[in-house]
């Protein structure tokens, strides 16, 4: 069986790094949004979402990420996706998410881009 959704979250240089595993459905998307909100309240403005271990996502799950960019817009924060499966990347592009969020090959690259103030 495709494993169920799980996530791990880490704070690195004031940046929240969420790594998912398994199917990002509505439940998974909401779990990401809740984890984000928790840190956002405490002032975190930079977030990386590593989707390396999520080869399957759906548009309901992804729509929860719009909540995140919306909140970040208000405070001048930023979301960066990393380790995107090409098909998932295409889906996010179709949704227009890259108008509000960045993408980088790896978490390391994303952290560097934040450090460089990009």
């Amino acid at each position: 069986m495709e494993q169920s959704f799980t996530l791990t979250s880490d704070l690195k240089n004031n940046c929240l790094v969420i790594a998912t595993s398994g199917y990002v459905n509505n439940v998974g998307g909401e779990a990401i949004a809740i984890e984000f909100a928790h840190h956002f309240e405490k002032g975190t403005k930079h977030i990386v979402i590593n989707l390396a271990k999520s080869k399957v996502v759906n548009s309901i799950g992804m729509s929860f990420l719009i909540e995140i960019v919306e909140q970040l817009e208000e405070v001048g924060g930023k979301l960066v996706f990393t380790d995107l499966d090409p098909a998932v990347e295409k889906m996010l592009a179709i949704m227009g998410l890259f108008k509000f969020a960045g993408k980088e090959p790896t978490v390391g690259d994303a952290l560097k881009s934040f450090a460089a103030g990009k």
Partner: protein, 138 residues
Amino acid sequence: MKEPMKLKIALPKIPDIELVALEGLDRLARYMGIGEEKIGEARILVTEAIINALEHSGEKNPVVRVEFSMTKKELVVLVRDYGKGFEPGSIEEPDIKKKVGSKNKRGWGLKVMKSMSDDFQIESGKRGTKITIKKLLS
């Protein structure tokens, strides 16, 4: 190998049941030697069609029929529900700029299916909805 390989599934509404269809899709695609990126896009197309059918049919115990027909060149996916149907022309195109700041963030499935497929047809009426998706694989 000219004859398409077929696999059919009738799914009940339980959480993540669309993954059963994806398992079938993956096995067909690997057997046919389809590249990872095309499989990935096909997976998204199939997922979106099935979750729509299960969610929007309006039935208490919906059954969704999924048919895959695959050659090395092309995948045809049919997804049928027996629900209340809808008027595709009346559905507004989602726009991320409007979604940011508005309450309903959803509404991406049809757009994703249209954009990612090579052909996308909806037949919908009082007796349900039939989605036909074509995806070139090579």
